[in-house]
């Protein structure tokens, strides 16, 4: 077919939505997706470069803690942000992960990587135990019941012998693979990487790959859409054929596994855990980071998590005011910007000004004058791409 022939045919052919529409705007500044992707790449680069700028024990320690916190927040984001279940006892799963890995490595002597599958299994079981009876309840009841469960887990950990009682477990070893463990450090190109830096990279890799990317992928998939449907209107979702109970329990279990992995990482980071770290207060703080950042939005939740975990460090002089400020902040945010700092439905400010591109309609309207139909208007001046 010659080129002019195809063009003539094209003039007669109705515009097909699939093939003739203009490409979506792309590029870092022209599209939401491009911008987020660029931001993500930048963040990953910064993460990788951080130890080269400053590898002091303090910075590595708070950076690792902040990353683990991000993982926790991503998990809660799945439960609260995507599926809309207010879980006030989230820290219980964190505790389960930390304690299971702690017990297996100290009491039973297993290497840390072998404890990982046990942690995941334990969290799945815990998620089912806690979720099964309660997910049928309404949101207000669910909140208090999950709080109750959180307290039950904390008090049980406090009272049992195997969890070390109120002193908790200490002496938790770091990850080791065969003969080599993180504490041996690592030398590459003449640069020596001490344990804290190796562990920092490990945590960063796990958090970014499993925590952030994993959660994001789940949210975009079939499960994610089911969660959003359940969150928006549970009865309508049920009517559309979504098994809301399964959707909710899956969200719960995924949240539990995320928290469990974070717990195991934290147990390694601190080398000692005690029931004091698993009070309701800390559940509320994780919830706050999700709410402040923007429920259901990945960049928002990451920012929220970084804020909640790093602000106490940066504002160490005001440590006495910490919780009061958090309480007031929570009320203020819910009153004035309930969607959070970076809402999931946010449109970047400069993108709001872009005009939507109209589809091409000139093609089929510009019929040659020689055609029989004179009633057909020739629309002139239509924009073409």
């Amino acid at each position: 077919m010659s080129r002019s022939q195809t063009r003539a045919d094209a003039a007669l052919r109705a515009p097909s939505p699939l093939f003739d529409r203009p490409a979506a705007p792309a590029g870092i500044l022209n599209s939401n997706k491009g911008f987020l992707r660029a931001l993500g790449t930048l963040a990953v680069v910064l993460l990788a470069v951080l130890p080269f700028i400053n590898a002091t024990p303090y910075l590595m320690s708070i950076a690792t803690s902040a990353l683990i916190y991000v993982m926790l927040a991503m998990g809660l984001n799945v439960v609260v942000g995507y599926a809309g279940l207010l879980d006030l006892g989230y820290i219980a799963f964190f505790a389960v992960g930390a304690y299971i890995s702690g017990i297996f490595t100290t009491v039973l002597g297993w290497p840390m990587w072998a404890a990982l599958p046990m942690t995941i299994v334990a969290c799945i079981v815990a998620g089912i135990i806690i979720g099964a009876p309660t997910l049928r309840l309404r949101s207000d009841y669910l909140a208090i019941v999950t709080l109750g469960f959180g307290e039950i887990i904390r008090i049980t950990a406090n009272n049992l012998q195997i969890t070390g009682g109120p002193s908790g477990i200490h002496g938790i070893p770091t990850w080791s693979f065969g003969d080599w463990s993180f504490s041996d450090g690592f030398t590459l190109f003449g640069l020596e990487f001490p344990q804290r830096v190796v562990f920092y990279y490990f945590v960063a890799a796990v958090v970014v790959l499993v925590g952030v990317v994993g959660a994001g992928r789940l949210a975009k998939g079939k499960m994610g859409r089911a969660w959003k449907a359940v969150r928006d209107d549970e009865d309508a979702a049920e009517a559309m054929g979504i098994n809301t109970y399964i959707a909710k329990i899956t969200a719960y279990i995924i949240g539990a596994v995320w928290a469990g992995i974070a717990g195991q990482l934290m147990a390694t980071h601190l080398s000692a855990i005690s029931p004091n770290s698993f009070q309701f207060l800390y559940s509320a703080l994780i919830l706050m980071s999700v709410v402040l950042g923007g429920m259901g939005s990945t960049p928002g939740v990451i920012i929220g998590a970084l804020f909640v975990s790093l602000a106490p460090e940066l504002l160490r002089e005001f440590s006495e005011w910490r919780f009061l400020i958090f309480g007031v902040l929570l009320v203020v945010v819910m009153l004035f910007r309930p969607a959070g700092l970076w809402p999931s439905t946010a449109i970047l400010p400069w993108l709001k000004k872009l005009k939507p591109v109209p589809p091409p309609t000139a093609g089929f309207m510009a019929v040659p004058a020689a055609s029989a139909n004179e009633d057909l208007e020739t629309v002139e001046g239509e924009e073409t791409r």
């Binding site: 080269f52 700028i53 024990p57 910075l59 109120p166 002193s167 000692a272 004091n276």
Partner: protein, 396 residues
Amino acid sequence: MHTRTRTPRIRRALSIAAAIGAIIITAGCSGGLGGGGGTGGSSDGPIKIGMLAPFSGSESAFGNYMKNGAQLAIDEINAKGGVDGRKLELEVQDDACDATTSVAAANKLVTDGVVASVGGYCSGATLPTLPIFNEAKIPMVIPAANSNELVKQKLPGVFLINGTGTQQAAAAVKYAQKSGAKTVAAINDATAYSKDLADSFAQQAKDAGLTVDFNAVITPGENDYSAVATQLANAKPDLVYWTGYYQEGGLIVRQSTDAGFEGTFLVGDGSVDAKFAQIAGKGYTEHVLGTFTQTPDMLKGADKWIADYKKLAGADPGPYSTQAYDAVNVVAEAMATAKGTDFDKVVKALEGLKDFKTLGGPLTFMPDHTRSGGGFVIVSIDPSSGQFVLKDDLQG
């Protein structure tokens, strides 16, 4: 139709190149991996001493007591010329009685260049900091935390000023025998130190031939202890040992006395505070005794110390103010003997301390780095002032 000006492949290559470039550029930064920059202490200039204590969270009441006690010692030492001609400086960080915060705080102290640690209140929050300080070669003289787990780690630089639970329990058992008690009981509040102490007491009492009626646990932070009060009234032991804090202790003694308990109510050092009498109320404190280390008001000339403290802090001293004060003095003395802040020399000097005079009595460290004898005495409550005063120094 191409609307993009660069293919994804080129873009990816560019970003990787940018990353590698960033790494190469920053590799020279000091404090980073490739750069120099260490946190080693310098050999002149002020000596930095670090202290971790709770200033927020559930135990925040105790942070200021410890901070002010330590600061008082520092000011006194500096007024006398410091250690080896160098002034002392105190850096205090909040550990919020929580492992995560305490680890970050310990790392901060290490990064800021402290050469000794005189903090540590919650054992649960102090335990994770032990390996951090140990790796950084910083000796620790712990004024308050006294869980046996701290001792079990057997780290070279860790010393405990507060008598261990075992020693305190031994003092309690000694008094029980002395007072002719045949049956005893224990109550703890499910926190680390309290449970340790109660269990140790129960064990040692049993070994000494006393009958242990029960070892009960209560939940702190509540108001109603009628269950354990009823238990006491029914079992009627001659002596009961409460190992928790004054908030609950005052309530328990009141409720159990109301319920009909008439034996001796012995409390551990966490309850020895003037507020105990306030909470228990008038008329409930005659049969209350406590195990405690010697405090300023029991020593001669302690009024001056209390007055100095009040001038510095603007408030009365509280639990562990004296221990923090002692910890700083102990560290300063060791550094003076070691003529510097070198870890091995300071540790050796600490081990070599013999009968060093502290507010808590003469101090010698035992081979496991705990304090010899513990220095515990029995105190009772003065009905008019509500303060605990010395009753029996258990030396006889």
